[in-house]
């Protein structure tokens, strides 16, 4: 993985693409999860594993939370969480 990036910057400045950048039906490969260990573990158990492909599916009517297809199942994440999942 890359050098340590300031978490705040990585999504605030759009230097790295996060899950929120995916359009409906678009896929991307997860690079890393910029969240504390426990939360990252939980997301990984649900299938958000680095190196795995993630597809953006439906969303709630307002566009948040959004549903992602990962590892054979569908999981909804709020935007506030999805910005911490960085794509390759």
């Amino acid at each position: 993985m890359q050098a340590v990036v300031n978490k705040q910057q990585s999504h605030a400045h759009g230097g790295a693409r996060s899950l929120t950048a995916l359009k409906r039906g678009e896929s991307g490969t997860l690079d890393r999860i910029d969240l504390p260990e426990d939360d990252a573990q939980r997301l990984m158990e649900l299938g958000f594993l680095p190196g795995h492909s993630i597809t953006r599916a439906h969303s709630a009517p307002g566009g948040d939370p959004r549903v992602f297809q990962v590892d054979g199942s569908e999981v909804a994440l709020r935007r506030e969480t999805a910005v911490h999942l960085i794509l390759r």
Binding site: M44, A60, S73
Partner: protein, 632 residues
């Protein structure tokens, strides 16, 4: 089913005698079919139990094997790993480790996995097999797997994992015999040896996931095609326009069912209770015992049992929504709005249900895994205008507010007042939620995740068992706590005897209590009679109507015109407004307190809730009394 009732205090249906009875734990990820399998194996021989000190519930049940032998099964909370991070995971972890108080270490484990999502679900096999307990790996949803063109070889997987593997369909019942076989083995001590498989050394998620993928490849697992129907249905149910329409229709449906649809059933139950009460009255000679049975027990317990149809209908609805998979979509749609008050999408249905009755609503909050969100939902639910408030609202509004049209013939002053009461209850809930969520129940930053299970047909068995289970819980409470309070209330209003007869209510112990609280409630514009009503309505809100009826010496509440004019004598307009506000905010409901205690695992929260709501009600009733008194 009979011995399941046992003593109401028992946590488990008879503690299994050491060395004779065997306990087998059912473990698996959420939605893998644990409860379906458990229900199939145990049927009605099951009950909900709570471990001491934790609020996570589990089910214990007995499965009958051949030769009249039985085995105890435990249905544990769904988990993806054994890392004890959430309370659910901790319970599952502790039970399997044998460190859970009140339950001996299980003799064997049934690990149930969704075969349509095997590569991910197999990850749980690593930590479970690592425990060294005899384990049967059950691959569930065989029908769905094959229906979507997936393939798995249980024999090969068994070789790879070094433990028996059964491919079944829990909802259809195919392959169940392999489980009974395993369980028979477990009772006969011919347990398969702990597996000698090489497990991933480092138990971190990516490593385990690689291990699972590897096993999947070696056993030629072919994942099924994506669930076409689920995608199609989501195209409608999560569509920006049709999704909202369906959502609203479902809400209106739930609301309509529990509010209007339950009415005829509730009326029928009410009529049956009244008829049987009259029958007892007619058959028994006039005596204090008759009065105790008819006026005390029958009307007290009866006023609660009336809610049974409503509760059952609500749970039928929630059962269908949950088992079909729509509940997750509804939670997704509601999430944004609920987040604004610090809650989350899953709080939505419980709060909606609370408009019928807080009791089932609080039980429905079980679908919220996040403990803080669940507690917050439970704590604000009683602010929603439940149907028990309606008799009080109707009476006071009819007595004090003259009907004048506001918006044509459909919306008059009385409807506006009623609507206003709904609104202030809702606002109180929001304020309280924000208060709680920004202080004691502030969410840990744990991200909100919501799995969208594929849509499935709910099974009749699962729905029926839910209803039976809820009725048992509800009726048991009506038969214990509520019975006791009804008797106490009756005794207090019929003692001390005057010349060997029941006293005037004003001179009874209840009357004395009313006089005693009068100074406290006088600032609200209430006198001692209202005081008695407030106290008796601690049992249930609508009880105040009956109490006031008795106090004003009016036979039956059907003569509500008389009760209305009596109230107009008794209360100033300020006092009437205060009474309405008091009932909007105060926690006048024993059943709710009892269920909050049950669901939060102790008296702390119900006590806090009671004190908070009563103070809240007091302050605002006081303000209402003063404000209205300025005008009139």
């Amino acid at each position: 089913m009979d011995d399941c009732h046992g003593a109401p205090t028992a946590t488990l249906p008879q503690p299994p005698a050491a060395g004779k009875q065997h306990i087998v734990a059912i473990v698996g990820p959420p939605n893998s079919g644990k409860s379906t399998l458990f229900n199939r194996l145990t049927g009605l021989r099951q009950k909900v139990a709570n471990f001491p000190g934790v609020t996570v519930e589990h089910r214990m049940g007995r499965a009958r094997l051949d030769h009249h032998r039985e085995i105890y099964l435990v249905d544990l909370p769904g988990v993806y790993s054994l890392h004890p991070r959430t309370e659910d995971e901790k319970v599952t972890h502790d039970v399997l480790a044998g460190t859970m108080e009140g339950l001996p270490k299980p003799d064997a484990v049934i690990l149930i996995l969704d075969s349509t999502n095997l590569s991910r679900h197999l990850s749980l096999a690593a930590p479970i097999l690592g425990l060294g307990l005899p384990t049967l790996v059950v691959l569930n949803m065989a029908d769905d797997l094959h229906g979507r063109g997936g393939e798995v070889d249980p024999a090969e997987l068994s070789k790879q994992l070094g433990t028996p593997v059964a491919l079944i369909s829990a909802s259809r019942g195919s392959g169940i015999e392999k489980i009974t076989e395993f369980l028979s083995g477990a009772t006969l001590q011919q347990l398969p040896r702990p597996p000698l498989v090489e497990l991933p050394v480092l138990q971190n998620v990516p490593k385990i996931r690689d291990w699972a993928a590897n096993i999947g490849r070696r056993t030629k697992y072919r994942a099924p095609a994506p669930p076409v129907w689920t995608r199609r249905l989501d195209g409608v149910f999560l569509h920006p326009v049709t999704g909202l329409v369906v959502f609203l229709l479902v809400i209106i449906g739930v609301f309509q069912t529990i509010f209007a649809g339950a009415r005829p059933l509730m009326d029928a139950v009410q009529a049956a209770i009244e008829a049987s009460g009259r029958w007892i009255e007619a058959t028994m000679p006039d005596s204090p015992l008759r009065s105790l049975i008819v006026d005390g027990i029958w009307s007290g317990v009866g006023s609660v049992i009336v809610f049974l149809p409503q509760i059952l209908l609500l749970f039928l609805f929630i059962g269908i929504l949950e088992d079909s998979g729509y509940l997750a979509r509804a939670a997704l749609i509601a999430d944004r709005t609920m987040a604004k008050i610090g809650l989350q999408g899953k709080s939505f249905i419980p709060l909606l249900s609370a408009y019928a009755c807080a009791v089932p609503a609080i039980m429905a909050a079980r679908t919220i895994e996040n403990k803080r969100d669940r507690t917050a939902t439970i704590l604000i639910a009683p602010f929603m205008t439940c149907s028990a408030r309606l008799p009080v609202y109707t009476l006071v509004i009819a007595a004090f507010i003259p009907e004048k049209p506001l918006l044509g013939i459909f919306f008059g002053t009385r409807a506006a007042a009623l609507l206003g009461l709904y609104v202030i209850g809702f606002l109180a809930a929001i304020v309280t939620a924000r208060l709680l969520k920004s202080t004691v129940l502030k969410s840990t930053r744990a991200p909100f995740v919501l799995e969208m299970p594929p849509y499935r047909w709910p099974t009749v068995q699962s729905l029926a068992l839910r209803l039976i289970d809820r009725s048992r819980v509800f009726l048991r409470r009506a038969g214990t706590v509520i019975l006791a309070v009804s008797v106490v209330l009756w005794v207090l209003s019929n003692l001390p005897l005057e010349n060997g007869k029941a006293p005037e209510i004003g001179n009874s112990y209840a009357g004395m209590v009313g006089h005693a609280v009068e100074p406290v409630i006088q600032p609200l514009g209430f006198n001692w009679k209202i005081g008695i009503g407030l106290i008796t309505s601690l049992a249930a809100r609508e009880v105040i109507v009956g109490t006031l009826g008795t106090l004003y010496g009016i036979e039956g509440t059907s003569e509500s015109m008389n009760l209305q004019s009596a109230l107009r004598h008794e209360l100033t307009p300020g006092g009437a407004a205060a009474l309405l506000v008091f009932f909007a905010f105060a926690m006048q409901c024993m059943s709710t307190l009892a269920v909050v205690r049950r669901e939060t695992g102790g008296w702390t929260w119900p006590v806090i809730q009671f004190v908070y709501m009563t103070l809240f009600a007091y302050v605002f009733s006081f303000a209402a009394n003063r404000l209205i008194s300025l005008w009139f």
